[in-house]
């Protein structure tokens, strides 16, 4: 019996991918989880692993070909190796539903959303569920990876699954067609042109579930401040050419914001922490999630160990990520493991916003649009380039005083950038 290898679900607004490379050729023996080929999409590159052991019998889609989600890539025949317990085919293995092709994501949302992670085949996760939890998950079409488990070592109990079914927070995005009646009911209105019903895509649902999970879990609130960008802008215009010549990367503001946050995080560790069970993990390193806008939407690659990096290295790393994002070269790994996030709604003109935490992080800084505004300096009204800053934080582990102090520290470092140099 041969087993089919198909293009896995890749995320919202990604309906097709290009085959970058085949690692195996027909006749090669493959083992379970061994990568077979690499797919490129506009946002990420991913490897397609073998889900059974055997011999690659046929490659259907050649290198360079563009393939749709769910399309047949290859087949694996029974070989010498005993067939491992086959994980069932990925949920999206059915012929791909026509997703709204290339509809650009709504980009106005200032909330950075964690990576479009191709969900693992649902079956893998359901295999590990207890029998009753599995029954509930399957009956209600839930995505187990989105259910918070309260059992031993975080396992999902029947109760957890039932709760998720009730609250609808973990509805799987598998290509299950909506109940016919709902579809027809919608159709009549749609026909009149007042409404349009579009199926939520996998990524949209992931985003929705993550955001709600964040709001349901953390005690979130936001503190604001404003920063006079004059000094930073002056510094930048003076050195940007020299900087770019030396490092080959533009001197932007983001590097300064990252440095300012690192300084403040070092002083207020609660903002760089997470809750794990009944313990708090304080991280002695900073993996900074930095929102990068692309044509396809906002992604948040993670610059690792920024505490050890200079301004130029940070700018280079961000620049690299920007390029990778544009070229669709971001790997899943680039989007994971952040300990703090900087989001920038200012790119789209936002003057003020309350970012939502990327769980399990305890803080997220919101940058906004720089706008000339009258402010009072030493008793005189003057015009200054001002930016509002927002810090959303998890009040469960960050006290108000800590949050406010953090933001004041960020403001100080940005208004008088020499502080970053002097470390004061």
């Amino acid at each position: 019996m041969s087993s089919e290898i198909r293009v896995p679900a890749l995320g919202e607004s990604i309906t097709e991918a290009t085959i970058a490379q085949w690692y195996k050729k027909p006749g090669d023996a493959v083992s379970v989880d061994e990568p077979l080929c690499e797919l490129e999409t506009d946002k990420v590159t991913i490897e397609v692993p073998a889900h059974v052991a055997g011999v690659l019998s046929e490659i259907i889609a050649k290198e360079g070909e563009t393939v749709e989600v769910g399309a047949l890539l290859a087949s694996i025949g029974e070989g010498q190796a005993a067939a491992a317990p086959a994980a069932a085919a990925p949920a999206a293995a059915a012929p791909a539903p026509a997703e709204p092709v290339s509809a650009p994501e709504p980009v106005a949302a200032p909330q950075p959303v964690a990576a479009p992670q191709p969900a693992a085949p649902a079956s893998a996760a359901t295999q590990d569920l207890s029998p009753a939890a599995r029954r509930v998950v399957e009956e209600h079409g839930l995505a187990p990876e989105m259910i918070a488990g309260t059992g031993k070592d975080g396992r999902i109990t029947k109760e957890d699954a039932m709760q998720a079914a009730q609250s609808g927070t973990a509805t799987a995005s598998a290509a299950v067609s909506a109940p016919a009646s709902a579809a027809t009911a919608g159709a009549s209105i749609a026909a009149s042109g007042h409404e349009e019903r579009v199926k939520m895509t996998r990524l949209r649902k992931t985003i929705a579930a993550r955001l709600k999970e964040s709001q349901n879990t953390a005690a979130q609130l936001t503190t604001f401040n404003e920063v006079d960008m004059s000094a930073l802008m002056a510094l930048r215009s003076e050195y940007k050419d020299l900087f770019e010549k030396k490092y080959g990367v533009r001197l932007g503001f983001m590097g300064f914001f990252v440095r300012a946050c690192v300084t403040a995080l070092r002083e207020i560790p609660a903002v760089n922490a997470e809750i794990a069970g009944d313990e708090i993990i304080y991280k002695k390193y900073v993996n900074m999630g930095v929102a990068v806008g692309t044509e396809k939407g906002l992604v948040v690659p993670v610059v690792r160990d920024v505490q050890d990096m200079g301004l130029a290295e940070i700018e280079q790393a961000i620049g690299n990520f920007g390029r990778k994002a544009r070229d669709g070269q971001l790997a899943i790994n680039d989007l994971q493991g952040g300990t703090f996030t900087i989001s920038n709604g200012g790119v789209y003109g936002s003057l003020m916003s309350t970012p939502i935490l990327n769980m399990p992080q305890s803080g997220i800084l919101g940058m906004h649009k720089i706008q000339q505004r009258p402010v009072v300096v030493n008793g005189d009204v003057v015009v200054r380039p001002m930016m509002y800053l927002a810090l959303s934080y998890d009040h469960r582990i960050v006290d108000g005083k800590e949050a406010v102090t953090f933001l004041v520290r960020v403001k100080e470092c940005l208004e008088t950038p020499e502080r970053l140099l002097l470390d004061i």
């Binding site: 029998p131 009753a132 029954r135 309260t150 031993k152 109990t157 029947k158 109760e159 039932m162």
Partner: protein
């Protein structure tokens, strides 16, 4: 090695019962230098020497006797069956010796130094020992674990002479089968030993202060259990208090009065009386007062979540602290304290500690009883399945009893499992595992159980929660 070195340890455990020796072994596994002290001369504590193990030897032997007596029903004729009590006692002793030697082997294998003597704390970190074979020794310990267990609770005004009036220790070692054995206390120990001597031919009368047997056990289970014991010929006198017990030359006289207050006294004559009203923490002579270890009103050593007493470096586990006096509870605590001292996370889940009464039928439970759930205001569903509907129980001729599963009415999470029947003590393991993983009754119901086995009754009880038992 210098003198100082041989007497200084990372951990000194006082008491080598199941809590103590398990703690010592685990600590040694984690790289600590460990000594364990016991004044009994053999490791294993009450459990191995005068408790669980010898009583199970006698329960097993007497059960074999009973089965043999009924072997004719299965077409096996064995002629007249006789009991050689002396030989039965040496069978019991062989069981004890095998187990205690096993513990000594394990301690040695893990390089735990076993010291025979009575230990006393002279200061935090300092342990003084009066060695059994004379002489003294002083140890320095970074940490000390008190695991000295428990002792028989005496009945005020009644002297236990271990001849006519005995504790469980004496009742495990009677020189002859009593004609009439009176047992004061219808708890686990009294009923197990009562079963032993009843099967061996004694007339057994159990006197209990409360109006029910086995307090704490699910009432439904206790009622059916009492019925089963009654059928075996054990007499019960409930709601009675013992006002006097006196050892005579060849018998003992025991005076009872209604527990509820005034009423006519009555007298029982027996050739042996077993006082089995409970056990109390054993904390005497350990020097606890000297170093200021605090105890609660019941005399139990007070500890925090990591089993530390109010004195730094002094820990306590098992029967000397709060909680059920069970070997397996002490073992869990012993492991937890050793892991805690090694800087590892440790945890004992007190909601999932099984209890077993090794009679026939056996009684076993884990989690909360119906009474507790009612008191806690929990809305629960009951799934019950009788062994009379279980194929294996039928051919084994052990159809007495049932499995009862209590699950949360809303979430279906298993809250308690109560079993009366043959092998209940083995059957409860599955329930404990399920509860440890926060399983629902449906999880048990959807797990494949081998046929034909007694565990199928557990599965059927789980099915019965949703009123879909298949074989009823």
């Amino acid at each position: 090695m210098s003198e100082e070195n041989t007497n200084s340890f990372d951990l000194v455990v006082i008491g080598s019962g199941p809590g103590g020796y398990v703690c010592a072994i685990r600590a040694a596994q984690l790289g600590m230098k460990v000594a364990i002290i016991d004044k009994r001369g053999a490791p294993g504590g009450t459990c191995l020497n005068v408790g669980c193990i010898p009583s199970k030897a006698l329960l097993h032997a007497s059960e074999v006797l009973q089965e043999t007596q009924h072997a004719g029903d299965m077409g096996i004729s064995v002629g007249a069956v006789k009991v050689d009590l002396e030989k039965m006692m040496s069978f019991k002793q062989a069981g004890i010796d095998g187990n205690t030697q096993g513990v000594t082997f394990l301690l040695k294998k893990n390089k735990v130094e076993e010291i025979h003597g009575a230990a006393r704390l002279t200061a935090p970190g300092d342990v003084h020992i009066d060695l059994l074979d004379g002489g003294q020794r002083s140890l320095q310990a970074k940490n000390i674990v008190i695991a000295t267990g428990s002792e028989v609770t005496p009945l005020p005004g009644i002297e236990i002479d271990e001849d006519r009036i005995v504790s469980s220790t004496g009742a495990l070692n009677l020189p002859s089968i009593p004609k009439h054995l009176v047992i004061v206390g219808a708890g686990i120990i009294g009923l197990e030993l009562g079963s032993v001597w009843r099967r061996l031919g004694a007339e057994v009368t159990v006197v209990e202060f409360l109006d029910r047997i086995t307090p704490g056990v699910d009432a439904d289970l206790a009622k059916n259990f009492q019925r089963a014991l009654k059928k075996q010929g054990i007499n019960f006198m409930l709601g009675k208090k013992v006002t006097a017990a006196k050892a005579l030359k060849a018998s003992a006289k025991i005076t009872l009065a209604p527990a509820s207050g005034d009423g006519a006294e009555e007298t029982l004559t027996a050739d042996r009386v077993l006082i089995a009203i409970g056990r109390r923490p054993h904390t005497q002579g350990l020097g606890l007062e000297a170093i200021g270890v605090t105890r609660d009103q019941q005399g139990r050593i007070e500890t925090d979540a990591h089993f530390k007493t109010n004195i730094d470096g002094v820990f306590a586990i098992g029967d000397v602290i709060a909680g059920p006096m069970l070997a397996h509870k002490a073992e869990e605590e012993g492991v937890a304290v050793a892991e805690h001292l090694a800087g590892k996370p440790s945890h004992v889940n007190y909601d999932v500690i099984p209890g077993v009464i090794y009679t026939a039928p056996e009684v076993a439970w884990v989690g909360r009883t119906e009474e507790q759930l009612k008191a806690d205001g929990v809305d629960y569903a009951v799934g019950k399945f009788p062994f009379s509907a279980n194929g294996r129980a039928k051919v084994n001729g052990t159809t007495e009893g049932f499995v009862k599963i209590l699950a949360d009415a809303k979430t279906d999470r298993v809250l308690g499992v109560h079993i009366l029947g043959a092998q209940a003590g083995n059957l409860i393991a599955e329930a404990a595992m399920a509860m440890e993983f926060s399983a629902s009754s449906e999880d048990i119901a959807r797990t494949c159980h081998a046929h034909p086995t007694l565990p199928e009754a557990v599965k059927e009880a789980a099915l019965a929660i949703e009123k879909r038992a298949l074989h009823m």
